[in-house]
Symmetry: C2
Subunit: 452 residues, 2 copies
């Protein structure tokens, strides 16, 4: 039987990073990754396969090379069961691999609700992290001009914009009043929606889908408000559910939301088994409540933590809770959010103030390519601590969102921000006197007791 | 006699921000700004006036409007003396303004060394923050094809690149082995130099200037190594010295380096007089030594701190020492640095390790417009604390540099970084599994005791 010190099951972002981090801190240990796919996709790149990136072959995660360089063993195969008593993982082909430490990075599967009539019709698709499926889907979409995307979260929005780029007539259906409304405060979601409309995506919000209709092949979608939309293909972008079968069969505990239960070292209730990424339980950084945020980037943080705690725990290498931190771009406008939105913070009962400022992302604003840049901060009224931030700007909005992410994770307060030094440059950032992050902090400060 | 609660002298970035911050926290106080110029320039935009921005009129700091909106009074005039006993400032036209609190933001003047023969010849210029001078200089430069820029710091590099864009033959002279070598570690300075060369700037490094020659009008420059360069115009970009005459005449203490002495509240030795920006003493965040970094962005941090401490001090609103934090762009390659370089850290005797990683600034790398992105971190070996970082990348390098700035100012260590969550997006950032900041942290970690 094959033996390994560390066995990682799954090799999307989380599994890849866990294996590399595990090997980095345990140079002498044998680290093995098992995955089903010969080639794995860059998960966040998937919507872009349908437009800018052109094919899945341009969207391959170079994990094989990364493993070779780092001395991690890669095994193609499907794990079908885990015998935790004997610490053995069984593969579909009958092979067995004995492990000392096991990391589950089994990912997630798109939601295709079985209560929805018509989900099984031909040309109704989901968006799984599966190269073979996506290649086939992309081929079939070529034959259809009218496409309906159901679900206005990030995947739905990005996919709609990309399909539109290829000349399709795309209708995006969202049950909430606005697209991206679970991610951003409404005034920012509206901006995203307006840009999408300008770019030619047809948007239908405020009504859910009653049924998908057609005869064998999909013909369209009937909304709850009675509106009937015709389409040659329908894409469901209604979220993802964690892949927990393997863990559940092995007797590991699950959370109420059906994620694999983990502690802040990313250990399951078996101290030799870790779980990370989309399949692992999440708790919000600020609310401390369970949350269902599935992001490759935060999954990688969990992966680094699992990798660093495999053989001995270290109390300063723990997970501090999930902050919702993500960004997207529609055309050349970047949108980002880190931590709590105002809406979420108020819902949860936080006593907050907000401050916003809109400036320019280069300076002077007369420079070619300058875009508006808006930052909104969500700040605890009594503590001055930054709980969240939102950004709309040019293509530097993603990194600016990460700056806010570090501010939140360091629990910086409004005074620490206002006394901080930033660097500015005409071609790269807003002006020193009008840097939106700092101006937003100033605008928030006047509403707190920290102003004077 | 005119009375004001707060008088700010100077209205470049620092003076503007101090007045606005002072008004923000002291709504009921009268805040007045005195400045010489009708229109003030965006300081960091000045090199770009000679190329991308086209004229100084496109590079105006909108301070007048900002003052109007905030209720700050603006007075055009030149302060010529301060009577600290009676708390009165005298203007050139004989007017007097009585103040309760005074903020000196008198800026800096370009260095034009009088030991250098030929500095006074016609068509030898410096780069002051002076619209009238720059307009005249720009007009005169139009008549000359061959231009020599002396000094390969940021201003010299940016100006050379911009002049080159307009079709001039530009030679950049730097006494050190490479341009930007005081700002970046050599391997990064070399990259900047290579890009400048590709863009057609002629670079002469490793030899200083012996004299500027010509007969009334400049004809060229003689280097210390004997090389003779011809030119119709010469621009000196040899640094700036603080404007301290007003402070010195008023009996305020100066530092050994001839800046106005200040404490961490930005107070001079007169508790009612503050000094900020290029004219105010600086102390390095990490080395705690005096330093001479003059940056509009860090000046604005000093300005916010002065503004917030005018009438009552607050111990959590103090200046923590200057971090060298700046960025620049050559073509579409962004360069940034925050905190100590490796060179500087070793010179100062810090026990450090470094970690670097080069990836892509979008993902997958097949996306159009993707640039390489390199991050280098300088880390205390015993503490794991991040002392500095350098970035080479696309146009998001400026904001990424600011992320590193917040990491340094929060005194984050390598484990806090490795357990942090970032957000990634195909069109906006590197990939979650290959985010250079985190990979560099991992590469640094293996050299510390914090790895396992």
């Amino acid at each position: 039987m094959e033996q390994t010190d560390v066995l990682v099951i799954g090799s999307s972002a989380a599994g890849t990073v866990a294996a590399l981090a595990g090997k980095r801190v345990n140079v002498d240990k044998k680290v093995t990754v098992i995955r089903k796919e010969e080639k794995t996709l860059v998960p966040c790149g998937i919507p872009y396969v349908f437009g800018s990136v052109k094919t899945t072959d341009n969207n391959i995660l170079p994990s094989t090379k990364m493993f070779d360089d780092a001395g991690v063993n890669l095994k193609i195969g499907e794990a079908v069961s885990i015998d935790r008593d004997n610490k053995v993982c069984k593969l579909k082909n009958g092979e067995e691999v004995a492990y000392d430490k096991l990391v589950l990075a089994t990912g997630s599967t798109p939601t295709a609700p079985n209560w929805l009539k018509g989900v099984a019709l031909d040309n109704v698709f989901t968006v799984p992290k599966d190269k073979v499926y996506l290649d086939e889907m992309q081929k079939k979409l070529k034959d259809h001009h009218k496409i309906i995307v159901i679900g206005g979260g990030f995947i739905g929005v990005e996919l709609s914009d990309e399909l539109r780029k290829t000349g399709k007539e795309v209708t995006l259906v969202e049950i909430l009043p606005h697209v991206l409304e679970l991610a951003f405060d409404q005034e920012i979601a509206v901006r995203a929606e307006d840009i999408l409309k300008e770019r030619g995506v047809i948007i239908k919000t405020g009504s859910g889908v009653k049924e998908i209709f057609g005869d064998k092949q999909v013909e369209g979608v009937l909304l709850n408000n009675g509106e009937k939309l015709e389409a040659g293909a329908v894409v469901l972008a209604m979220g993802y559910r964690p892949n927990i079968q393997l863990a559940s069969d092995a007797g590991l505990s699950l959370s109420k939301e059906d994620f694999i239960k983990v502690d802040e070292y990313m250990r399951t209730d078996d101290p030799d088994v870790f779980a990370i990424g989309d399949c692992a339980e999440k708790r919000d950084f600020a609310t401390r409540k369970p949350c269902t945020t599935m992001l490759a980037s935060t999954a990688c943080a969990e992966a680094r933590i699992a990798g660093m705690n495999l053989f001995k725990l270290c109390a300063v290498k723990t997970f501090s809770g999930t902050i919702s931190i993500f960004s997207t771009a529609i055309g050349d406008t970047g949108f980002g959010v880190a931590g709590l939105t105002e809406t979420k913070a108020r819902e949860e009962g936080f006593d907050i103030v907000t401050g916003a400022f809109e400036g320019m992302d280069k300076h002077p604003g007369s420079l070619p390519g300058t875009k508006k840049q808006m930052v909104k901060l969500i700040v605890g009224r009594e503590t001055g601590i930054i709980l969240g931030g939102e950004v709309v700007g040019g293509l530097s909005a993603g990194e600016l969102t990460n700056t806010i992410g570090f501010i939140i994770q360091n629990r910086m307060d409004i005074n620490s921000i206002l006394t901080s030094q930033i660097g500015t440059h005409p071609l790269l950032t807003a002006s020193p006197a009008g840097y939106p992050l700092l101006k937003a902090a100033g605008n928030a400060a006047v509403q707190t007791m920290f102003n004077n």
